[in-house]
Amino acid sequence: MSAPNYEPIIGRYVTIEVAGRSYRVYVEEAGQGQPVICFHTAGADSRQWRHIMNDAEMTTNYRFIAPDMPWHGKSLPPEGFEEEEYLLTTEVYVETVLKLVEALGLENPIYAGCSMGGRIALQLALNNPEPFKGFIAIEASDFQPAWYDIDWFHRPDAHGGEMGAALVSANIAPQGPKAERWNTQWMFMQSGPGVFRGDLNFYTKDDSLVGKLGGIDTSGKPLHIMVGTYDMTCTPEDAKRTADQIPGATLAVMEGIGHFPMSENPATFRPHFIEALAKMG
């Protein structure tokens, strides 16, 4: 009998306390060396990072850690969720990231996050930079009001996941491999009821960074912003507007990519991400 041809990714669970509540969080990791904690977009989970985590070359020098945020993927919602309206807030998100870094014993990790994970990169860089070596903010901007009705995605008479997937397909570039474009949408289709809406509540309403980005100090903590040309939610103009407000921030515009770079088109994203990691020093 031959040994199983396992991927190098391993998954484990850790329990953290955020805002006085206990959360069982699923965390995947792969690789060795400099830790990089990777956060997924709204309405999805850590599977968005699987191509990076299965990359034999990058995992030689980097240890990638990708949690499923509470309520997402294999992480459970908190006790009492059944009577609760899930609405993500900046405060809970920031505390979740900081508690995970602490619980996992990560020393000087690079933070990488996409979409709402990119927004939190900016929040952390401004208000809580201490634990981190640097920040990679993907499809990230200071503020994005909704160009859709977020209540579409949590209704008793329709499947929020299927509608959410069909909407976010507007943010996926046609150049990606068909299988990966659909895998990207599958995560939205699987998302728990109301979770995408609750994430968007944070992403489309929190304008707390507006006018404050100039306070980010990139001198010792690099901040690199990445954006795909097909992203209609955080457009290249949105990302440039954001980068222009942060002294020392760098910006990469990725051709032929949308809002989910690491998931929808791994081969095109790869060199951009290698470049981003190199910028972290």
């Binding site: 859709y148 579409w152 329709a158 909407l167 507007a170 996926i172 570039a173």
Partner: protein, 129 residues
């Protein structure tokens, strides 16, 4: 030009009829959609996911549930095999001000995958399905 577009929509209807997964997705979709291109109206009547007929306007008597209004150049760009950014999705018309989506938008959203894939059938090669 206007009849050419009607022919195009009818061709798309024939392609739709040959795609079982789209007929399954559209099984509950029996509505009339208005597509208005440069002011020319096309009423697409669907029944259980099949495109039953395409009627040209103008008409003030034909009820429709939602409408997509844009221009011929934008639609031609949308139908390129690999559309450029913002022309790759019907919501791009709205986001960039090149078009409008009106009417019962929630009904569109409930049938969004079906309708987007139907609209993409006009592409020379499948690029976004």
């Amino acid at each position: 030009m206007t009849s050419d577009l009607r022919d195009r929509f009818e061709d798309m209807g024939r392609e739709l009829a040959a795609k079982p997964h789209l007929l399954r997705l559209g099984a509950l979709f029996s509505e009339t959609v208005l597509i208005e291109i440069d002011g020319n109206e096309y009423y697409l009547a669907f029944h259980r996911g099949e495109l039953e007929r395409v009627t040209e306007g103008p008409s003030r008597q034909t009820p429709w549930r939602f409408a997509i209004r844009t221009d011929a150049e934008a639609l031609a760009k949308f139908w390129e095999p690999v559309p450029e950014p913002t022309f790759h999705d019907i919501f791009g018309f709205v986001k960039t001000g090149r078009g409008r989506i009106e009417g019962d938008i929630l009904l569109l959203v409930k049938n969004l995958r079906f309708f987007k894939e139907f609209m993409a059938l006009g592409r020379q090669e499948e690029a976004t399905a």
